[in-house]
Symmetry: D3
């Protein structure tokens, strides 16, 4: 049976409400999130067996995060309760011409101070089939990057499928290393990568390509550069996002399997309730699709795009949707008719 | 003087706020609604004399509903305070690509267990000029359907104009009868029907027509089928709703008097605050128009469409607008300029 | 060093939330605002030295307004604490086809009962470089109009640049004088005027022109009429606002210096969070631009338009944006991408 | 049948929540209140037929107040819709050692500018049995005091029982008259007065008595002084209030009928949710008791005291309790056991 | 290892906030509760392995209840997802002299329509050590009472310890049977009963005893009557509750093991935040104590009383406390000093 | 003229509302606080000239803190905008038998990483008369303790009066030093110390005394031990706090000037809204009193005790009271009568 282990941080998300600016907020909505965790929530919503591996402080705030994980049906049996603090991010949600703004306060979190050897990966992965991580963990600290490699080596040895969302964040990577010094080695383990071509190139130390995603014929050769550098790679996917404004996004996607480019129709999403986590919703949809019907790659991509669209309508980091809701969009029903 | 008696349920409406999903809600906004009640509120807002006939439990929750009716200036002198419980509906308001979702919890409400003979219609209708009901009441239970017939017979005998909104709800009609076994008899009493052609056909046991509402010339023959089955019918109206998304609706309407098709310009409404009750706002506008200037059928339709558009901008089931606001839209001012 | 003194009212703003109608509100959000005050807040946000001159009651409510002024970094050393009451305005924020609605409750406020001689202008203006007022103050009462003249005479004598936003409000001007009996004299002192041509004409007792702002060649002759009547005038600017609906505005602008028409690209703003104060945001941007790079008139106009666009995304009267955010829009980035 | 007409203001009450100070409030809870109106609400709750006479502005805010009156089942058929503004009061609710604080903003309200002749008292009072007013109306303006006399003369001529709550407010009475110049004439019409002895003495121009309410034998001679000055007086009642702190009140009462002193046990109320309107709850209870069982004076007093106690537990100005709840307290059950 | 299976309903709890009356509420706080479920939450908080057996509808509302169960770490693997609706209770929280008020809306819930044979008790109980139920289930319907017997027979056969909270609710028991017709048979299976003596007598058809709980010597003979009727009974406990007011409770307790009366000091709790569920907190504490140190009966009672005291300080039905917090109270520290 | 410079941290305070537990909170109220900052706010409220010296990050969160400082009229001209993060503390407010709980998340804040030489004390203190600090700063890090000494040396050289609140927090002091290794040296500079005797003894490395504060005659000899160790000490004060429960505090105080013990009546405060910051309110009152009437030591103590009592009634860290409100309590009026 499918069991997907995801590795990453879970952050306390403190967001202003109703598009208020930080200076207008007299309270913060407290939820949780984090690129990898959001993927895990998506998978749990679709009914898959999940396990999330992270470190949380053994205090009231860590305990609250655990309650949330349980509520969301994300496996938390192996969470390490020994970090110093839970990472926090503050979010001000933009609208129209005004961008959202994030202030990270995640230094010295459990994942930032994670070290090789702290996690018993052999035990944790023993009945797992898939391992997911993202480029955020190696951006936190050198030791976190090393802990990543440790996990990936074991996962590979144990024969798991390995997926990664590149998730480049310019406000992270502050410990003195450029991604291209760290990521090439870690990405070697991947079978599935989500990210746009130039982010991959940037992390792999390759020149920028400025790909034209609407010219599909031009794409295989560009993706192939990356496939060549990462021999284990079986799929690379890219979320296509055309921002009309903070409130109006147009979402599409590309999936490449080394042979064929699959693409999906671009869908309008307006107004946007919360776009944070929409890339993770794409990733979650893709992993679901590749697990559910491995041979139906077009469906996996359509699932990822529809999931990503829906995420924009939901407050918070997670894509709290059902399989049925994603299916309805895949089927072309974007009308939002009331069910009654 | 005009006095409009409306017959139906009043439901406690428990809705999540700010487009939250049910699983995100820590509280529910508590208001009231119900297809027929919403019509009554519209009419009261336009200054008409109204009376609402329903059953409510004689407890704190029934008392709260009565307070709401009084606040809204809907006549409640004849409400029966003897049902077991107030019907409830839970609402999650969608947005963009995500549809709204309704969970009904209305079984065993006072209207569901209503029986013939419980209401003294002769007394209630003695100074009334118009009687409005909808297809929801006969969908609740067999006895409620019988109680409907009782009311309509008396209303007809007393010479009232009778209007009906077909209001088909697939989540209701659970007591073992198909609408076509129940509705044809009840619809016989109607002078004014609101609904689309195929809903009427479905309820009357006629084949589906797939009408093309934009081809007006094709419409009279289709409406005539229904006029033939219901000899008392004087007007049939249809709300035209083109859903671009849950947040963007395009609203028009058709009114047919047996001779002439009247139509109204389609108007964009975006973003939608709350579309529940917008059909009832159309119905309320139509009844108002037909009472205010019976000969000006185009104006009645325009009023209904403008009222329906405005409803989408208002949270809750009711169309809390003034005559002046509807007139402004009829006059073509959709710019939403601040009045100051 | 630049120091901008602004003169006007500060009102308690009591608004319904989430587009609720007045009759749905169980509470009012309490903030502050007022045409001139909003300009002062903009200038303080951009880092200019500001001073605001008004009258507030010496009670808890006046004290709360002072705290707000300090929080916003608007100079309040010379506020007169002796009025009878703080002016109030109630706001119901519209959306889509429904307009916002304002109920003023500002009679007998400190600014309404202000009289010549109450304010020591020579002291207050001694290190100031710019004086800003608006057409609201003379609309409040005859004595307030006289107090306005007093201030302007002294400001002119002291060599300050004087700017005015015409700000015509049909719900004010209730003390028995038509604007054209009052404004021509007061506008004589102005060096910079913001307003559309026909508002200026109306206030100056000139015939309406129905200008076609999109035909730029036709504009100089129209603006010149006003420049002739007001010899001190150096700049006149007009905010161009095309209301698609209460939720969708298209914003542009014109600046004329007596020789050249400058215009700015029209920008879409949708959805609108709060359009109140967007004209003041334009004014604040224009004053900033004219102070920062006096010779770069195109930039001053672009700054004003971008600031005005951003204001629509922010709840409340004030334009709580940073210089960087305005610059980003001037640079053409309307995509609202998350900064992380 | 009993019909009680009450005459006074209805104020918009804007209060901070959860004991916040004015300077901490980001919103105000919006309800309504006013000494006389609160009495009318009590009477409506007990099932009596009521009518409230006041002036409200014919705008959205006046309309909201009317909706509230209807919701509360207080008759509002004769409200004059022509004043300039609705009076407002701002409330900060204290607790423990910190007192509540009220800022009045009620000048130029409809009741303040009320003049003799505006109200058609003969029509309004034609089927009434009781007329209630309070010392607040004559404190607002000279013309309001005259309008009071006009109403009382007609009420007396028509044989109504007349009750008054003295309601002295030091922050009112600002129009240049001392209560003793105004009140003696108006109090002549009263049959029932609520107030403490020294407030009555103060208003009647008599010396202060410093009564010892716990020494009942000493009281008749003191009340008799007032009975002598007001020959129509049949009952005078006094609410006894021992403030331990803002959160802990001890409530008793005295009723004197010219012959006998009735007193009621002192009850502890802690914690206090909202003490505003508790005197009005006493008045409402007393009027109810004197109408329901005119001969049972002890019960009327007990009812008033129990009603007053309960009011302290309810947020807002009104005593939203049922007859059954008051009866339970009269019966001695203060335990607050859950009913389930 | 200890595993405690609890059987009962889980209700959606819709409560007004801040002591508002039902008629003041514009929203309801939505949580969950129910006598037996609250016990299960207590046990999970103390770290015990729990499993909760109930029926929930297979819709969004049932799904939300499941999320809550998971969040609280209550086992929900065997919940039946097939009922018609989730039971609801509406709560208005009283204070001081005003009692809380509950409106039940739980008819036709999954537990009300539960029938014998629906639950596979042998499978569910196979690794359980303790079975807890309460007098609420047999009060719902005849079939629910029968399903109770079925469960108890199997639990007894499998050698589990069986505990029951009598939980008499006068607003339930509406299906035509008196408790004494139903309960004696069901109580036969119990090893531990919580309830006061006269509730037990009432349910067992015995005469009322009016026990004086403060006279401990008088108690054994009274408890013995019940022990004689229920041979399997090992412990009977009674929560002692002295209500000073809705906001001030004094809590003690009695435990009897057939030989010895154990009692605990009475503790003041004031102010009370929420007393609903405080009896369940006692039950949860008692079960924990009897499992943790079976021989230390005094400690089990002290634990139950301290847990019950703490529950009154927590909003909602559940006793969200830690072992450490209960221990602190048992140790005598009631001072509520800030931990920092 | 008096100018009081205070040195310490300003923390973002994230608290649950309405006594909710951390695990129940879906949002956090965001305000600010910190032992020393709260003192500065008190002094600003009383009208003194204040300046607060701290380090804040130069990001949106630091900017929000600056806005708060300005709003509160606390001087912030010399705040260093260069730290890494703002310290945070999470607060769950207890009630009755349940204690409040604080989770600190303040490591790596600007004050924790402060180093000697970062602040230009000579410039900052040049027109100051008083310098206040507390035992929290040296508890944060070794470098912060050194920065403290640096400030104190300069303040002493410049002739300022120096006051300190000992503020021992067991959850701080985590950098490897015991207070007695650090504090004796720093306390040498103090002229005024607030703290209880055994806290002082603990920090000075003296044995515990278990003083009996109600036996005043026994106190001078105990305080003298400390006066001997700190020759510059002129006043030592102790807040007396008797916790009946988290909701009921009894507050008194002692002031000793080396010769005479002054004490103040113990006052009941119940219910407590928020006790955090009440010690700081005492400190603020004491500093105010000693500045306002240096010779009236009894009044200074009474002022401190009354201010401390009032603080318990106010949500948040700060004592938002007026001089008049403190005076009213000093005058013995604890009745909390409404001012109207």
């Amino acid at each position: 049976m499918t069991k997907i282990v995801t590795f990453g941080e879970i952050l306390l998300r403190l967001s202003t409400e109703r598009h208020l600016r930080f200076s207008q907020a007299e309270s913060y909505k407290a939820t949780y999130g984090g690129g990898e965790f959001n993927v895990s929530v998506s998978l749990a919503n679709y009914g898959l067996n999940t396990e999330y591996i992270t470190r949380l402080p053994n205090n009231e705030l860590g305990n609250c995060a655990l309650k949330e994980m349980r509520k969301l049906n994300v496996g938390c049996q192996n969470v390490l309760l020994d970090g110093d603090r839970i990472g926090i991010y503050f979010l001000e949600t933009g609208t129209s011409t005004r961008a959202s703004n994030i202030v990270y306060d995640r230094e010295n979190s459990g994942m930032s101070t994670l070290k090789k050897g702290m996690i018993d990966w052999k035990e944790i992965l023993k009945d797992a089939t898939w391992f997911h991580w993202s480029g955020i963990t190696p951006s936190l600290s050198e030791s976190a990057a090393e802990a990543c490699v440790e996990a990936l080596e074991i996962a590979k040895d144990m024969g798991l499928t390995i997926s990664c969302d590149l998730n480049y964040r310019s406000k992270l990577w502050k410990y003195g290393k450029h991604p291209k010094e760290v990521m090439p080695k870690i990405l070697q383990y991947c079978n599935v990568i989500l990210g746009d071509l130039d982010t991959a190139n940037f992390m792999l130390g390759l020149p920028q390509m400025n790909p034209d995603y609407q010219n599909q014929e031009s794409l295989p050769v560009l993706y192939d550069t990356i496939f060549k550098l990462i021999p284990s790679l079986k799929f690379m996917a890219t979320t296509l996002r055309y921002s009309v404004s903070a409130s109006h996004q147009r979402i599409g996607g590309i999936l490449y399997d080394g042979n064929t480019i699959y693409d999906a129709d671009v869908q309008d999403v307006t107004p946007v309730v919360d776009r944070v986590g929409s890339g993770d919703a794409f990733m979650g949809g893709l992993i679901y699709g590749l697990n559910e019907e491995p041979l139906n790659k077009q469906r996996a991509l359509n699932f990822a795009v529809a999931a990503c669209c829906l995420k924009h309508t939901i407050a918070g980091d997670y894509n709290l949707v059902t399989l049925e809701e994603v299916e309805k969009l895949i089927g072309g029903d974007f009308t939002g008719k009331v069910s009654r």
